[in-house]
Amino acid sequence: MSRPVATTERFRHLRASLRLWGETLRALARSPGAVVGGLLFALIVACSLCFEVFYAKDPLAQELMARLTPPFWQEGGSLAYPLGTDNLGRDVLVRILYGSRVSLMVGFASVLVACGSGIVLGLISGYYGGRADNVIMRVADVFMAYPFMLLTISIIAVLGNSIFNLILVLGLSDWVTYARTIRGSVLSIKEKEFVLAARSVGTRNRVILLRHVFPNVLSPILVLGTVRVANIIIWESGLSFLGMGVPPPMPTWGRMLAEGRVYITDAWWLVTLPGLAIMLTILSINLLGDGLRDALDPRLRNIPR
């Protein structure tokens, strides 16, 4: 008998959340920072996905005769290598483009791993409470206290570096932030009427969690995920820089910087351009993230930043 109550309640909430998403998009479109960030990010993603269409070169092909060619606008540069070549005569532009693919893939995949494990643990912790909550949160405390970089470095040192290990390690080191955020949101949502109603008609906990609670904790996850993608990309480049990231010969921004560092006195472009690529990517994500946070947090909406 009371099932319709739970259902209408739920639909009311879903409608409200749809409206919120609509408002969010409109708020995003009104913020110049978010628009610039979004467009820049879309451009970077598009380039990384299909650069072969307009710049089909092999990132590993060596042309020793043309080694350390400067970018085209400098004396000695040529349009055959728009951003110059490295010490082995490999084309810097195509390596940067290829590096963007690696960075974005590792960034997003790690965030998915972190997000996935964090969501599951956060939902369990917040919804069931009790002993499960206690254990998960104590483990979270430990992970929280473990300096992130050291954790990833020590695991990579043990497991060896492969792209799979990297994603796994970066992802699993970062679940805590998600778990805690989600737990907090779940704690407040599980006392709402529509959850109580669903529970009172005997809906199974798993169904309540997935269909009633989860859709309502998506917005903090989205904001957090955006910020973390940026962080993970920076960490990935750092690990690659140290020689603990994606194994060679796959070009990554971090390794390009590490390799270019040896030639810092002769070839400024080798140490400058890959870093610029990282910075632009992170900047675009940060701009988007700032916009998203303001748009999703109505409390902040009226305060100019």
Partner: protein, 308 residues
């Protein structure tokens, strides 16, 4: 207050135990250290003897217990590569890392707090907009790349500062800026947003209404309350600094713990890696404990709420 302290201490203890368990098991996943300790042509019998001697045939929990009871007494094992106690190596390098992290934190705080305050007070001004744009760029730069750019500009092109090493103030400048800039950006943004919130509170309006000078309203009434979240974040960022030193020390050949751990990883010196990770994590936990104590002083509400 007493109960809060006890709770906090208990938290510290189990976190340290947890960290030691995690790092112990990770190192154990790495395979057989005996193989690394013996020459390649050692016989199976020799391997077995050494394994027996070192206790690697015991169950894992016995081994962990042995490791933990030694660790409590300050014995974290010996470096396979340097053949000296790991703890000695770490403490030899620790001052350099703390110097770097401290300088980075100092630069970050000294610049960011005034910048954040002025940006909040003069919201929408040119200064506000430039500094927030700058902060956004600062947040988006990987610190090791910033380090390389500083070297390119100040060492290679201008020849003003030395590229590496430790000892003089000139050698400290670039590594600490490289490490501190993103923190500076983060703190400036945080100070600004917290100040904006605090400045809209009733007690600030009251303070202004009773005719206090703006300097006192901002410096005394607003700032003290704005400091609370700032202290928390600064404390939490200490972990970031520890991680950051690992890379920055490599860029600038800074003789600290970060470089030690990177070298240990490449020479597969697992006892040293494990010891370093443990020591750094404990430092991090202790710093967080200290931050909580400062917090207690800054915000009397906390101890009051805990008592209730």
């Amino acid at each position: 207050m007493g109960r809060y302290l006890l709770k906090r201490l208990w938290h510290t203890v189990y976190v340290v135990v947890g960290i030691s368990i995690i790092s112990f098991f990770f190192i154990h996943l790495s395979g057989d250290p005996v193989m690394l300790m013996l020459p390649g042509d050692a016989s199976m019998a020799e391997v077995e003897t050494l394994r027996q001697q070192l206790g690697f045939n015991d169950p894992l929990y016995v081994q962990y217990w042995r490791f933990a009871s030694h660790a409590v007494r300050g014995d974290l094992g010996s470096s396979l590569y340097h053949r000296v106690p790991a703890i000695d190596l770490i403490f030899e390098r620790l001052p350099a890392s703390l110097e770097l992290a401290g300088a980075a934190m100092l630069i970050a705080l000294v610049v960011s707090i005034p910048l954040g305050i002025v940006s909040a007070v003069k919201r929408g001004s040119l200064l506000d907009m430039t500094s927030m744009l700058g902060a956004l760029f600062g947040l988006s730069m990987p610190h090791f790349w910033l380090g390389i750019m500083l070297i390119l500009l100040f060492s290679v092109t201008l020849g003003w500062l030395p590229t590496s090493g430790r000892g003089t103030l000139a050698q400290l400048v670039m590594p600490s800026i490289a490490l501190g800039l993103s923190l500076m950006a983060m703190f400036a943004r945080l100070t600004r947003s917290v100040m904006l919130e605090v400045l809209s509170q009733d007690y600030v309006r009251t303070a202004r209404a009773k005719g206090l000078r703006e300097k006192i309203v901002i410096g005394k009434h607003a700032l003290k309350n704005a400091l609370i979240p700032l202290v928390t974040v600064a404390g939490m960022q200490f972990g970031f600094l520890i991680g950051g030193t690992v890379i920055i020390e490599t860029v600038f050949a800074w003789p600290g713990v970060g470089r030690l751990v990177v070298q240990a990883i490449f020479s597969r010196d697992y006892p040293l890696v494990q010891a370093t990770v443990l020591v750094l994590a404990v430092i991090f936990v202790v710093v967080n404990l200290l931050v909580d104590l400062i917090y207690l002083y800054l915000d009397p509400q906390i101890s009051y709420l805990e008592q209730k």
